[in-house]
């Protein structure tokens, strides 16, 4: 079995074991051929286009040193990097109603500071792309680069060169330039430099070159690139209590915004764990003992990114091979055998102290060709550091709190960091020189005008509430009745014997808060069982029949209970279920708020409607789509679709599918949309006049696929629905992770922009360049950040038949952010997206198969 297959097999095999709640020993390692992987005998072995080890290229210069622009630039030229693809995707030309104005009008104008900086170019600036050939042909890329760079003819030019393709900011006199040079050995080499393209500053290729230039500049400021961001390990924030270092840094990018080229920078932190994987394993062994050590260890480590001490690379742990020891040999590329111990001693002067440690296995996928078998690399746990926070660590409340304290930056703190970065760039001689030779001028921080849209009223059963703060209206509606819910008459509580004592108090509390919100909670049948997963499941199987409306489980602890119960009750035997940790019910002082929260969730799960907002559009269906990778099998992706079922937008139809693909592009939207329309028809005896779909979870470079592949699926299901007047469709791509930030400046300090702030100019995508038109887009701030800095959500309207004015689209979107029933306040994205997210998360984490369709019209996943 190949390494990858085995990892996959083991990943899948693990899930049933974990679900049954057993601690089984991992299957003994199957001996296997180890591909000759001379770990890094020559740096070239990995730079040859292996992904999976992301290069950290402060030291591995290939992407920057003396203008050399990235080892796979050749491919990139043909296939522009993923995130730049989106730049070329255009939709605005088709949107007739926004040709005149793509901005809204309602609300109060507000002046906003941003984290965007002007980048000025001379008016007629162009980038010149050349192709370079050598006679005689030279194989060594380094030599090719060295010869070109040392040629006097090009010495004054700003250039980026990867060995074949050369970019210059100034045009050479001739279209074809012949250059002659000598190697050290006295051989004459002829270089032919041929102009292939002239690119305006707006072309995606130019944007890519600008980004390379800034990469180079940040490296001049002693920053290290990890992933896409840049960090300064020399100024760490340290949390020794949790063995963590936080490296401050920036996520940066250069793009074309509405009218000009802008540089965006946002503060970012890299979390480094100051422990080797070996120390982590040892600690784990201390903590949990040996009985299920291997299994737990693999669960916690596989998938994490490690940093090796002896070079600047990061690797993903794909597997752990317990049968290989440091004293085993591997084959170097020259064919000789060497033990790991000797290898590290010879190569890096490192003495391995633990000769019994297993090896970590990382699979390096070839970037060039997807068909090649991944290369297997063995890493020593002793020499690998854990990066990032994942798995078990994130559930360590103390630790997460400590991290949050350190990295949470106020708007002012954030602005100060930015100011320092700009200062550093402008003071650094090399950085300045780099900008100047390319003709770039680093300008001032941009400010712009946004609008704060009017706040929304919350409609309750017999009360209209204007909340004090849209961030949280739980207090405002405490005494109000929810819109509708059926009574809960027949239901079960399954709990362990130990939890018995808390139940009475909790039940009376639940009934009390229930009745005050208009939710009648009858007495349940209480089933006491032994404290193990099997006993819980058995009790549920025995007692759940067709009449049971809801099952509540009081769980002793542990994820296993939750996963098994949810799996059974969402899929095998579809009944709404409510899990509560017995620990939660022990918090005496908070019983009222806990009971309220649970009562609200329970009423949703029974199909209840909690509140509404005014929706001026009649016959409007809104839908949300999100995707999530399965926890166990990375090849599976869960696609969730949630659509409203009534004009008031209080009832929802939810569907979800597991799809075997590595891309995040949904393949099943036609089925979903058709199902949702049928369900809508059942409820309303008509089809919706308008449909607005919010699509979340679109990765970099997938925009085109969404437009070309997903929108047609939705359109065809609408067309085939059988309605007389075809429903009109709009599709909006939602992005939570956008770089721009907006602040209000007050009394010489900066604050978060207020809730409901809309930005639809300047920081939005450009509209120049017909016919290469872009989307109409806007930012909306719909979440409150009490201590940190708020992140706006970006909405990109990629398809729009509805012809809604941008202003209406913005306000509708804002309204939808009020409708998430799991939180009595505004959230950062429209409710259907958050529902879809919640659904896919439950399926990806716990259920791992399609939930039963009988539950589709309940919010059973809250």
């Amino acid at each position: 079995m190949s390494g990858r297959a085995r990892v996959r097999a083991r990943g899948m095999a693990r899930s049933p074991g974990a679900l049954a709640g057993e601690c089984t020993q991992a299957s003994p390692s199957v001996p296997r051929m180890l591909m000759p992987s001379d770990l890094s005998d020559s740096e070239a072995s990995f730079s040859g286009g292996m992904e999976g080890t992301s290069r950290i290229s402060q030291n591995c210069d290939k992407s920057v040193s003396s203008g050399d622009v990235g080892s796979t630039f050749v491919e990139k030229v043909v296939k522009v990097r993923r995130d730049y693809v989106d730049l070329g995707v255009c939709t605005r030309a088709k949107l007739a109603h926004v040709r005149d104005s793509k901005t809204g009008s309602s609300g109060i104008p507000v002046k906003l500071a941003t984290n965007l900086f002007n980048l000025d170019l001379p008016q007629d600036w162009q980038l010149y792309q050349y192709h370079v050939t050598y006679i005689p042909d030279l194989a060594s890329r380094r030599l090719r680069i060295a010869l070109l760079y040392n040629h006097s003819r090009l010495s004054d030019h700003a250039k980026a060169f990867d060995g074949t393709i050369l970019f210059l900011s100034q045009k050479l006199e001739e279209k074809v330039t012949e250059l002659s040079t000598e190697t050290q050995r006295g051989e004459t080499v002829k270089m032919t430099v041929t102009l292939t393209r002239e690119l305006p500053s707006s072309s995606p290729m130019c944007i890519q070159v600008f980004n390379i230039i800034f990469k180079k500049i940040l490296k001049k400021l002693s920053m290290y690139q990890i992933g896409r961001n840049f960090y300064k390990p020399s100024e760490p924030v340290e949390i020794p209590q949790h063995k963590l270092s936080l490296w401050p840094g920036f996520a940066v990018s250069v793009s074309h915004f509405e009218r000009k080229l802008l540089f965006v920078a946002d503060v970012s932190y890299k979390v480094l764990r100051n422990e080797t994987v070996l120390e982590f394993m040892t600690d784990l062994c201390y903590k949990i003992g040996t009985s299920c050590f291997i299994q737990t260890c693999e669960q916690q480590l596989i998938g994490l990114i490690v940093l090796t001490r002896y070079n600047n690379k990061t690797y993903r742990i794909d597997d752990i091979d317990w049968s290989v020891k440091p004293t085993c040999t591997f084959q170097r590329r020259d064919g000789s055998e060497i033990t790991y111990v000797d290898y590290y001693k010879q190569q890096y002067n490192i003495t391995l102290s633990d000769l019994n440690q297993p090896v970590l296995v990382s699979l390096l996928k070839s970037r060039r060709n997807d068909n090649t078998e991944p290369k297997i690399v063995h890493l020593m746990p002793e020499l690998c550091f854990l990066t990032g926070l994942a798995g078990q660590v994130t559930s360590d409340f103390q630790l997460m709190k400590a991290v949050a304290e350190e990295i949470r930056l106020s708007p002012l703190g954030r602005q100060q960091r930015l100011a320092r970065l700009v200062d550093d760039i402008q003071r650094n001689k090399d950085a300045r020189f780099e900008l100047e030779t390319w003709g770039l001028h680093f300008g001032s921080q941009m400010s712009l005008t946004g609008r704060v849209v009017p706040s929304e009223k919350i409609l309750m059963q017999d009360h209209v509430c204007q909340p004090m703060s849209a961030a949280d209206w739980s207090k405002d509606i405490r005494t109000c009745k929810i819109l509708s819910v059926q009574s809960l008459n027949k239901w079960l509580i399954v709990c362990s014997n130990r939890a018995e004592n808390v139940i009475d108090g909790f039940l009376s509390c639940l009934r009390r808060v229930g009745s005050s919100m208009g939710f009648n909670v009858g007495y349940p049948k209480i089933i006491k069982v032994q404290e193990n997963v099997a006993a819980f499941l058995r009790a549920i199987q025995q007692h759940v029949d067709l009449d049971v409306q809801l099952v509540m489980c009081i769980l002793p602890s542990n994820q296993n209970y939750y996963d098994c119960i949810k799996k059974y009750l969402s899929s095998d035997c579809p009944v709404p279920s409510q899990c509560v940790l017995s620990r939660t019910l022990n918090k005496q002082g908070m019983m009222m708020s806990i009971a309220t929260k649970i009562a609200l969730q329970m009423s949703c799960k029974l199909g209840g409607e909690l509140w509404a907002v005014e929706i001026p559009l009649k016959s409007l269906m809104v839908a949300g789509i999100d995707v999530c990778k399965d926890k166990f099998s990375k090849q599976m992706v869960v696609v969730g679709f949630v659509a409203s079922l009534n004009p008031r937008i209080t009832r929802w139809f939810s569907r979800c599918i597991l799809q075997r693909t590595t891309t995040d592009i949904a393949d099943c939207l036609k089925v979903f949309m058709t199902g949702a329309l049928k369900e809508w028809y059942k409820h309303n005896h008509d089809f919706p006049a308008r449909i607005i779909v919010y699509r979340d979870g679109v990765g970099d470079g997938q925009l085109k696929a969404v437009i070309e592949y997903e929108v047609p699926q939705l359109l065809s299901s609408v067309a085939e629905s059988g309605s007389k007047i075809s429903s009109r469709l709009s599709v909006i791509v939602v992005r939570k992770k956008c770089l721009p930030r907006f602040f209000t400046e007050m009394d010489r300090t900066v604050q978060n922009a207020p809730l409901g702030t809309v930005v639809d100019s300047e920081a939005t995508r450009p509209e120049w360049q017909v016919p290469l038109e872009n989307q109409y887009d806007f930012y909306l701030i719909s979440q409150a950040a009490y201590r940190g800095t708020v992140r706006p959500t970006h909405y990109n309207v990629i398809y729009d038949d509805n012809g809604l004015k941008p202003d209406h689209m913005q306000r509708l979107t804002f309204k939808l952010c009020h409708l998430y029933y799991n939180w009595q306040g505004l959230i950062s994205i429209p409710a259907p997206c958050q529902y879809a997210h919640k659904l896919t998360y439950l399926v990806a984490q716990s259920i791992h198969k399609e939930p039963n369709l009988e539950l589709a019209s309940y919010l059973y996943y809250l």
Binding site: D41, S42, E43, A44, I56, Q58, N59, D61, S65, S66, S140, R141, L143, Y149, N150, E182, T183, Q184, R185, G186, S222, Y224, I226, P233, P236, P240, Q241, L272, N274, L278, M281, T282, D283, C285, Y286, K287, G289, T290, S291, F293, I294, L307, T308, R309, Y310, N311, N312, W322, R333, D334, N349, I350, S353, D354, L355, N356, Q357, F385, F397, N532
Partner: protein, 386 residues
């Protein structure tokens, strides 16, 4: 062996049309020679004259003994574009070195005197002298041996007797001003050694093929030692600061000699050790409660993961230190005990220093002699197996 870094001086021996191929490549053998020397003699200050693309410096920076590493070259562009290769690896911020290390690249000529290169333990001139014209070659000994006068000098140069084995019988590199046979090199070297009171040993790398042993090594090497009796060159203090070289790149590595780094390392290690002892203690209590009355069984799967591998001396040191103890719900680990564990023992701190460094990050007992933690945490994992 495939090798991408074949430019400049390293180009010759691996050029495909040449008949003889060395394995490992000859340039790697030269670097290995220097590395072995560094490993054996543990110099603190090392300079590489004619460092070119800084390949050798990159290999040397991993040696814990080296605290100052300097490269000099006349090609400023090369230094500039290769400087960042010498910056610390990310991992070296996570796990810092024991001793400081500063790496500096100077742009300058080896026949100029710069006082910043005085007092070195080792200066290497790998494939350098054959690039010097006769005038510079004449001034070279006076500067390197007479003025800089390091404890040890390594000079390597091509052995022209080997050249007939290559198809092209001219010089190995266009920039070479000469290539010496063994006699020529040794005569020059002995003269220089005598004049400046050094002794010299000759060796080389790149063994000739079978049947051609008489030509000697492809690269000949002279290792020079300053004689102990001789004056160590002009006294450093008498020198005026003479800064003719231009510093192109300089970087300092994080190390345990820096208080901030030491403190972080110490606190992390202390907390790690205390946590292990605490968990061990809890396990022991559990086992006792279960009635076994014995210490937990050695784990079967990953024995070494369970216990640090201690040597006899380390074990004895730990045994002889005060033991961790419990008072009520508190668990105490004496600082002396902590210092006995190898990972803390290696840190350059005594109990007093440790106390002051820990003071504001760790809770200590009232007399300050032990670290105090709660015996039980709310998030402790209790196995379900009872």
């Amino acid at each position: 062996m495939q090798c991408d870094s074949v430019v400049d001086d390293n180009f010759e021996e691996v050029c495909p049309e040449k008949v003889i191929k060395f394995k490992p490549p000859l340039y790697k053998q030269r670097y290995q020679f220097v590395r072995d020397l560094v490993g054996r003699h543990e110099p603190k200050k090392v300079a590489d004259l004619g460092c070119g693309d800084t390949e050798l410096l990159r290999l040397l920076k991993i040696y814990p003994c080296i605290q100052l590493l300097v490269g000099v070259d006349i090609d400023e562009e090369k230094l500039q574009s290769n400087g960042h290769h010498l910056s610390p690896f990310l991992g070296e911020f996570v796990k810092p070195r024991d001793l400081d290390l500063t790496v500096t690249l100077y742009h300058g000529s080896v026949v100029e005197r710069d006082s910043r290169l005085l007092g070195f333990d080792l200066i290497t001139c790998i494939e350098l002298i054959e690039h010097l014209d006769s005038d510079h070659l004449a001034r070279f000994p006076e500067v390197v041996f007479g003025y800089l006068s390091p404890a040890m000098i390594v000079i390597s140069t091509p052995n022209s007797e080997f050249n007939p084995l290559f198809p092209i019988v001219t010089l190995r590199d266009a920039d070479h001003k000469f290539e010496w046979n063994r006699m020529e090199f040794q005569t020059w070297a002995l003269q220089v050694a005598n004049r400046y009171n050094y002794s010299v040993e000759f060796t080389g790398v790149g063994k000739p093929p079978a049947g051609a042993e008489h030509v000697g090594f492809c690269t000949q090497i002279g290792v020079f030692w300053r004689n102990s009796g001789g004056a160590p060159g002009p006294c450093v203090s008498q020198q005026h600061d003479q800064h003719v070289y231009k510093a192109v790149y300089t970087v300092s590595y994080p190390s345990l000699q820096q208080e901030r780094v030491l403190k972080f390392e110490l606190v992390s290690e202390v907390l790690l050790q205390v946590e292990r002892l605490r968990l061990w203690h809890l396990r022991t209590l559990r086992e006792q409660k279960r009635g076994a009355g014995t210490v937990p069984k050695e784990p079967s799967v990953a024995p070494s993961l369970m216990l640090d591998l201690f040597t006899e001396a380390e074990k004895a040191r730990i045994e002889n230190s005060p033991k961790p103890f419990c008072e009520g719900s508190r668990f105490f680990v004496p600082l002396q005990r902590l210092l006995a564990y190898p990972r803390l023992h290696r840190l350059p701190v005594d109990e007093e220093r440790m106390r002051s460094l820990l003071a504001d990050s760790v809770c200590l007992s009232s007399d300050g002699s032990a670290v105090k933690v709660d015996l039980r945490n709310t998030w402790d994992w209790e196995p379900d197996d009872y």
